[in-house]
Amino acid sequence: MTDILGFDMPSPARAEPPVRPEYERPLEPLARSAAQAPLPLHRRLWQFAWLRKGLILIALALLWEILARWQGNDLLLPSFSQTLRAFFQDISSGIIPERTINSLNVLLKGYAAGVVLAFVLTTLAVSTQIGRDLLSTLTSMLNPLPPIALLPLALLWFGLGPNSLIFVLVHSVLWPLALNMYTGFTGVPETLRMAGRNYGLRGLRYVLLILVPAALPSIIAGLKIGWAFAWRTLIAAELVFGASSGKGGLGWYIFQNRNELYTDRVFAGLIMVILLGLLVENVLFRQLEKRTVIRWGTSR
């Protein structure tokens, strides 16, 4: 580069830009937006999220199959194909759908209750100092407690059956969601808060109309975590108690088959949980994100 710079130029130490003639131009008419250069096929295909995710799923299934065959211990790790067979058998026999519906029924109630409580608690926490202390104290105290520790209390207060399950579900959903919601609320930029309060908003309306949308990315992450932990807890809780055997859910289905060493059925039950997880993530949460935080530019 130096030789080129050297040519006909002032010394680089005190470079002087050349003086060029001025010009004016008539305004160019507006052109149509350039057609995007067509991408090569494989890159175009790559843009479909479902395709990429499908490939990942296939890869995972293959990995499972290979791992299982290599281990050759199908009482501990059945192969993917065995599991799939068991899955379709129990789907067509109606047993998995029935158990799933039983579980979902309880799960959704517990989830909804947890979400509502988390909202109440965080609203309190953003409005008052004592609410803030209460949230932080309760969360740090109760969140680490395993649901089975609450079992005797649940039994005492809510009796057998779904109510106790809902109680432990709330315990699983409430704290992580409240933590995330509160973190989201405290991260709302000051200017946006001031704008909201300038509209005359206060109390619940302020939280609902300003803080919640502004904190939505965190809240969605909290909802996802809550959803997952609700499943974990429900399945574990159905194993331990509450399932009067007539109306068991998926957890019960898994437990029973595990007891009888039908490991392929155990994994079939887990597949159902996995499928529901994928569905909720890719349909529900993904759509929610697309329509909100991504559209608003608050999350990439």
Partner: protein, 318 residues
């Protein structure tokens, strides 16, 4: 790594929690396996683990993390059934015959037929597991083979301690419990209203093995000396218990770090209903009933089908 046989001279055992595993406590306390190993000329390292629940036991055995595990008869038979032609799990020995009591606080219940739709029977695992299977056998007798699951509808899964606490203190919907020692002792002592409905001995027609030890054929076949020392240790421990009941109670407290009162432990060991023997009793009732119910795919022709030959020697066995 999986499948690889453990070298002779090591045994990894797991027991569950409770008085029903007293034989193992004694083996451990008196280092009986090591002693019998030395007699046979090998040094045996014994690794003890405590695991709760039959499923975790089974999984640890299948993953070759343990050589010998202990659980109730039905799960052991299920393992035998499912691993035929693979790991070939078989039973090693019984750990004793102890009854399970079906107890209730409902004064109107005296037989199984008295249970109504509002009663709740707590069992550790509703529908499966020792207690439920035993109930099913009796239900099949009482209400006919097709109605064997009749009582499952009012059974609910609840761990023994929670069920016991619920029964003693009342205030919950759980009013009945198919309970094992020491829980039914505590329940009967803790609440006047608690009374026995039926015992597993009544259902099975006499003393019946509660828990058993089981292992894979690979371990059994590849470690003949270790296995022999182990079996001998079990036999010695059972004999010792029957000769030294008072000391046995102390061993239990010591080994399990238990805070149970010594008198209670002693009372349980002294109870003539409880036999600490390694000879299997009435296990075949389960094998045949569970095969009938379709839980077991393989029909055993006698109890010796699912026991390792070392167990055949003792007196009796069924």
């Amino acid at each position: 790594s999986p499948g690889q046989a453990a070298a002779e001279g090591r045994i990894r055992l797991a027991q569950q929690f409770g008085i029903a595993y007293l034989v193992l406590d004694v083996v451990r306390d008196q280092h009986l396996i090591e002693k019998h190993g030395k007699d046979a000329g090998i040094d045996i390292t014994v690794e003890w683990a405590q695991i709760s629940g039959a499923t975790a036991m089974n999984e640890a055995l299948l993953a070759n993390n343990l050589d010998v595990v202990s659980a109730g008869v039905p799960p052991a038979l299920t393992m035998w059934d499912r691993t035929r032609g693979k790991q070939d799990v078989k039973l090693v020995a019984a750990l004793g015959s102890l009854p399970n009591y079906l107890i209730t606080t409902n004064p109107d219940i005296h037989t199984l037929k008295d249970f109504g739709p509002n009663d709740r029977i707590a069992v550790p695992a509703a529908g499966v597991g020792f207690q439920s299977r035993t109930l099913q056998i009796e239900a099949a007798k009482l209400f006919g083979p097709d109605e064997f699951q009749k009582l499952d509808a009012i059974s609910i899964s609840l761990p023994h301690p929670d069920a016991t606490a619920a029964l003693i203190s009342g205030g919950t919907e759980v009013n009945s419990h198919f309970s094992s020692a020491p829980f039914y002792y505590q329940a009967l002592a803790g609440n006047q209203a608690v009374h026995k409905v039926i015992s597993s001995y009544d259902i099975l027609g006499g003393p019946a093995t509660f828990n058993v030890l089981y292992s894979t054929s690979a371990f059994h076949d590849e470690n003949p000396k270790t296995y022999a020392a182990f079996y001998a240790a079990l036999a010695e421990a059972a004999d010792w218990i029957n000769a030294n009941k008072a000391e046995a109670a102390e061993v239990f407290i010591r080994q399990q770090n238990s805070k149970l009162p010594l008198e209670l432990v002693q009372q349980i060991i002294d109870d003539p209903e409880n036999h600490f023997t390694i000879v299997p009793q009435n296990t075949f009732a389960y094998a045949s009933e569970l095969a009938k119910l379709g839980v077991l795919k393989n029909k055993a022709s006698s109890w010796q089908d699912y026991f390792f030959p070392e167990a055949y020697g003792g007196a009796g066995g069924s």
